[in-house]
Structures are given as C-alpha cells and as structure tokens.
C-alpha cells in the first residue's frame, strides 16, 4: 500500500505502466505478493525456518494440487461443482489401505489400485448420475445438491466398512532426508516429487495432445464441440478417468503423510476449491500453481500464528481470491 502511494507521488507514468502490465499478466501480481510475504518472513523469522516450513508446505501443496486438477477439469468441462470430489480422495485412500494393510501388499500396488478404483467410481457416477442429469438439462442447484448427496453416500459407505477409527498406511514415517541443512520426511519427499511430476505430465498432455485440445473445446461450449464432430462422450469419460485417478492418488498421498479417517477428503475439499478458483476454473497448470501456493502459505502461517489456526489460511485465500479476482490469477478479465 505504502509503496504504491510512493510511486504515485514520484512518477505516475510508472504506476500506469505497472497497472497496465498487471491487467495483461495478472499472475505477476500474485508473484509479487508471494515474494513480499517471503521477504517479510525471512526478515522476521530467518531463512532456515522459512525454507523448512516452505518445504513442508510443498508436500501439502502437492496433495491440494492433485485433488484440484481433477476438480477443475470437471468444473470447467461439465460445469459441475463436484462436492463429492473430497470423498473421492477418501475412497482412494481406503482402497490403498485395503491393498497395503489388509492384504499386506506393497504400497505402490495400493496406489495403482486406488487410482484405478477411483477412476472407475468416477465413470460409474458419470453413467448413472451425471450423464442422465445433463440429458435432462438439470440446473446448477440440482447438480450441486446431488453431488452433496453423493458425498454423504460415499462417506456413509466408507464408515460402514472401515468405521470412524483413525488408521495409518504401512509407510516409513521416521526416515528423513537432509540437504542444505533442511530435513524432510522420506514419504513427504516422495509425495512432492510424485505430485509435481504427475501434474506436469497431465498439464503437458492437456496442452499438447488432441485429447487435451478436445477437452478445452468442450470446456468452451459442449454443444458446439459436439456439433463440430468431437466424440464428447469419449472426452467426458477421459475427464472422469483423470479426475478419479488423480483424486485417488491425492487421497493415498494424504493418508501416507498423515492418517486415514472418513473425513479426510471433506477436510481437504475447501483448500482444493481454493486452488481451483485461484488457479482459474478449468486450468490444470493454474490448479498446480495455486495448490502449491496455498500449501506453502498454510505452512508459512505457522511461523507467525499458532499452528491450530493454519486450516483457516486456505479458507481465507479462497475468500480473498473470490472477492479480488474470481476469474483466477491466470484467467483473463471477463464477467464472472
């Protein structure tokens, strides 16, 4: 605020040029805010603490980002605000638990099974719920309430089979990796690497392949895409496969770094929504960046306020993003 006023007094043309630049590349503003917060924290708390909490934030952010990519694709392409996405994460986590703990097999198999099972779940609901509802031209309220009903149903099924007990996956939670004086849990490091690799892969696929192009076409106008000869049913099925598989993966990664409870997914849902909106609806790269930013901000907040408040950070980012820039940091200014 003060800096802005100063430039205004000294050279109004600089301010004009800056604001013009901000309009064309809005994410620059976000970067500036993050850098400012980073510098302020380094000045106050020291580089080591900021880097260490930032590193913890990356593993949280990777989970947010993975959940957000699926949600943003479905939101953008099918215009469905899927409140059941959180429970997709929970479902994936319990599928991995089934393979990894109940059947005693390696976690990597559990991860694959979780991704396959959650993708199949996504396809199933597309078949029995969302497809028929689209054919009926159901309104936004109808769809949102249906997805809430589905979230209840999924959570009820999980509670029925696995009760409300807190469970853990069979992972190594004690080993840590040290570099540059920082330490990170081995599992957390794997979460960060897997998360970033998968999302970059998905993002490139969306940008470079024909399927990605078709998805963007559907996102612009589903009926027009169909008229243009795109097999919309196939594209929609792929959307659900991605959304489901990534949600399943995010659920397992979250369970591996913390624990499993039937509320796991619902508690992650709002930060995931925050990532979707901050990143711009339908934008996979945006969701990656925003998820990471929210994860890091959440962990950074523990440097200045009590850690029990940190869940509120994601909500506050969401509210501020909605009020200041509802089209997302990467989106173009348009009526929303």
């Amino acid at each position: 605020m003060e800096a802005g006023q100063m430039t205004e007094q000294v050279a109004p043309s600089v301010r004009e040029r800056l604001s013009d630049r901000m309009r064309r590349q809005p994410w620059l503003g976000a970067v500036a805010v993050i850098v400012a917060i980073f510098l302020a924290l380094v000045a106050g708390e020291g580089l080591h603490d900021v880097a260490q909490t930032g590193l913890n934030g990356l593993s949280l952010g990777a989970i947010y980002a993975l959940g957000a990519v699926g949600l943003t694709l479905v939101y953008g392409i099918l215009k469905l605000v899927n409140f059941a996405q959180g429970d997709f994460l929970t479902f994936g986590a319990y599928m991995a638990y089934l393979v990894n703990v109940t059947w005693g097999m390696p976690l990597i198999l559990g991860i694959f099974w979780a991704m396959i099972a959650t993708a199949l779940l996504g396809l199933l609901f597309e078949r029995v719920l969302w497809g028929p509802m689209r054919a009926k031209h159901a309104g936004f309220l109808q769809l949102i309430l249906m997805s809430i009903g589905l979230a209840f149903l999924l959570r009820a099924i999980i509670q029925w089979f696995w009760s409300t007990d807190v469970r853990v996956l069979d992972v190594d939670t004690t080993s840590t990796v040290q570099f540059l004086g920082l330490r990170i849990g081995q599992t957390q490091l794997i979460v960060v690497i897997v998360g970033i690799a998968v999302i970059i892969g998905i993002g490139l696929m969306l940008r470079l392949t024909l399927l990605g192009k078709q998805m963007r076409a559907l996102s612009d106008d589903l009926e027009l895409a169909e008229t243009a000869g795109i097999n919309t049913r196939r594209v929609i099925n792929y959307t659900w496969i991605f959304a489901g598989a990534l949600a399943g993966l995010a659920g397992v990664l979250s369970a591996a770094t913390t624990d499993l409870r039937p509320e796991l997914g619902f508690e992650l849902l709002l930060p995931i929504f925050a990532a979707v909106i901050l990143g711009g609806i339908g934008d996979a790269f945006g969701a990656l960046a925003a998820g990471m930013v929210i994860g890091v901000m959440t962990e950074w907040s523990t440097l200045v306020i009590d850690a029990r408040w940190k869940t509120a950070v994601g909500f506050l980012v969401l509210i501020i993003a909605l009020i200041v820039r509802p089209q997302g940091i990467f989106g173009k200014a348009k009526t929303v």
Binding site: V81, L129, P132, M133, H137, A138, G139, F140, L141, Q142, L143, I144, L145, M146, I148, G149, L150, A151, F152, L153, L154, R155, A156, I157, Q159, W160, S163, T164, L270, F273, A274, I277, D306, R308, W309, T311, A312, F315, L316, L318, I319, L322, I323, P326, V336
Partner: protein, 337 residues
C-alpha cells in the same frame, strides 16, 4: 421383549414408538431445522442466492448470546436481540462483497466463511471455550442463560399441568419453537406478497432484467441474507437451550446441508412445505432408531452411517426425480438454468 432378538432380524420395539419424551425431542430438532431452512427458502427458493453458510449464523447467534450472558453479565432477554443483530450485521458484512459473485462462487464463498467462523469458535478458547464448548458454571448458577429459560419453561409447564398431569421437561421448548416457526412462516408469506417480495423473485428469475428496471438488486439480496441470518441466529438460540452446551461441532457444514435436505424435501418456493419437510425428515431419520438392528453387524457407527446414507440417497433421488420437492413448484426452481 420376550422374543429372542436373533429370531427377528428387524425387530421393531413398539414401546419406543409411544415414548413421548423421545418424540418431543425429535420435534424440537425438527422445529430448529425448520427455522434454519426457512431462511434458506427465502435465500435460495425466493431470491436465487445459494447460501451454504447458514450454520455460521446459527453459531454467531448461539455464541453471542451465551458470551454476552456468561462473560459480559447481560440479562438473557437483552442478549437475544443483541445476538440477532450481531448475526445480521455479519450477514451484511459477508454479503456486501460476496453477493456480487456468480451463484456457484457465492455458494463456495459462504461455506468457506462458515468454516472460518467454526474454526474461530474452535480456537479462540478464551472467548468460546474451544473444543470444551461453552456452558454454564454449575457452581455459579446465578448468571446463566439456561436459568432464565428454565423459569419460563417452568411457568409454561405449570400452566400445561392443568391439562397434562406430568408434562415433559422439553415440552415448553417444543411449544415455543413451533410458535416461532408459525410466526416466521406467517411473516415470510406476507412479505412474499409485497412489492418487496416480488422484486426478490424477479432477481431470482433474471437479475439483469431486475437491474434494468432500476432495482438495486444488491440491496435486496443483502436484505434477504440479513433476514436469513436473523432466522439462523434464532435457531442457534434454540439449539443452545436444547443442548445446554454450545460446541463448535454443532455448526459443521453438515448442519447447513441437512437444512438443505429439509428445504428440498419440503419443496422450493413453499414456506409451509419447509415445516412439513422438517418434520418428515427428522421423523424418518430418528425413526430409524426404532428398528432394533442386531449388533453385529449393526454397530453404533454403522447405524450413524446408515442415517448419513439415507440423507445422501434422499438428496440424490429427489434431485433426479423430483427436484421441486414434495410441495414445491417446478417453475420455482430456476437457479442456474
């Protein structure tokens, strides 16, 4: 029962069916949810704003009332209008930036705000008691919101005992809640037939058109949200009087979604439908307690999950086959079309 429970997999214990105090407690919950859902009906059914943050207004009503009485020494009766005012002001502050948003963004913003309120109640321990909840000190009973209510409750039951020899201790609360619901329905129905009410419907049908006619739609939407906040705060009082302890878990998003189930069951665009929906919803949900299911496999958590599954299925099936609910009109459901 003399029968072996193993012989009947779905033994129904009929003695519970005639358990008056049980049904009265169900009626109290139903009445509380009817009030919450009436606010949602005004917002969602008649103004077209999807308010997913109603639990926050309940929390602010209940907590403000209790904090004013317990910590600031207010009288119970003075704390009530103050708490209603607090909830309405919160509604206005929240609505001012967020009501400009698209319907889906507004829904997400309100649920996030409600969670912030709940997290505040959970973590500002000095003020709200945190996860311990907020309750009266049993040793210092002089200054307690439940005492003021008990005086009223006793005098109602003294009168009732002329007709019913041993009235249930929750019976006065049931009477007061449903009287409030009746008054709220009467007022809301009257409001709906005023020019003001017609502007709300115009906003729901087509906000741009209402704006083009020179109506300040944001102002009308703010008023709609503030009235809903008032109803939510009153429901919060009744929740506090019913449970005696105010706890952050009583204001989870689940509460708002249950109220939406009540709203949808009753029907979009029908205030009286909301009252019927609340009774039906809670009598069905609590009625599952009569089915004496064998344990195992029906453990307590499984029965809890069964209730969640019933609610989920109800929402899915209603949305698929009868989105207007039992008493609603199809043409009243226009949001996002």
């Amino acid at each position: 029962m003399s029968l072996d429970p193993g012989a009947l997999p779905l033994a129904v214990t009929f003695d519970a069916l005639t358990n008056t105090s049980f049904w009265i407690s169900v009626g109290v919950i139903a009445g509380t949810y009817a009030l919450v859902a009436l606010g949602l009906q005004l917002n969602t059914g008649f103004t077209g704003i999807v308010n997913f943050g109603q639990a926050a207004f309940m929390a602010i009503g209940a907590y403000t009332m209790a904090i004013l009485v317990l910590k600031a020494g207010f009288s119970f009766w003075l704390s009530l209008p103050c708490a209603v005012l607090a909830a309405m002001i919160f509604g206005l502050i929240v609505g001012l930036p967020s009501l400009r948003l698209r319907a889906d963004y507004f829904a997400i913003a309100t649920i996030a705000l409600a969670e912030v309120v709940r997290l505040f109640a959970q973590n500002a321990r000095g003020l709200t008691g945190g996860n311990q909840g907020l309750f009266c000190d049993p040793n210092d009973a002089s200054n307690c919101y439940t005492n003021s209510w008990r005086d009223v409750s006793d005098s109602i039951n003294n009168f009732v005992s002329n007709f019913w020899s041993d009235p249930d201790s929750l019976f006065p609360l049931l009477l007061v809640i449903w009287a409030t619901v009746a008054v709220a329905i009467f007022v809301l129905r009257r409001l709906q037939h005023t020019p003001w009410g017609r502007v709300l419907r115009a906003i729901r049908e087509d906000e741009d058109a209402a704006q083009a006619l020179g109506k300040n739609t944001l102002l009308y939407k703010l008023q709609s949200l503030a009235i809903s906040a008032c109803l939510g705060a009153i429901a919060g009082f009744f929740l506090a009087l019913n449970l005696a302890t105010i706890h952050p878990l009583d204001f989870e998003p689940l509460v708002t979604f249950f109220a939406f189930s009540v709203l949808i069951l009753g029907g979009m665009g029908s205030y009286r439908g909301v009252a019927v929906g609340a009774v039906l919803f809670w009598f069905v949900l609590e009625g599952t307690r009569f089915i004496d299911l064998p344990d195992p496999p029906f453990t307590e958590t499984r029965i809890a999950s069964l209730r969640l599954a019933i609610t989920g299925l109800l929402l899915i099936l209603l949305m698929a086959f009868r989105p207007q609910g039992l008493f609603g009109k199809r043409e009243e459901m226009v949001i996002g079309e």
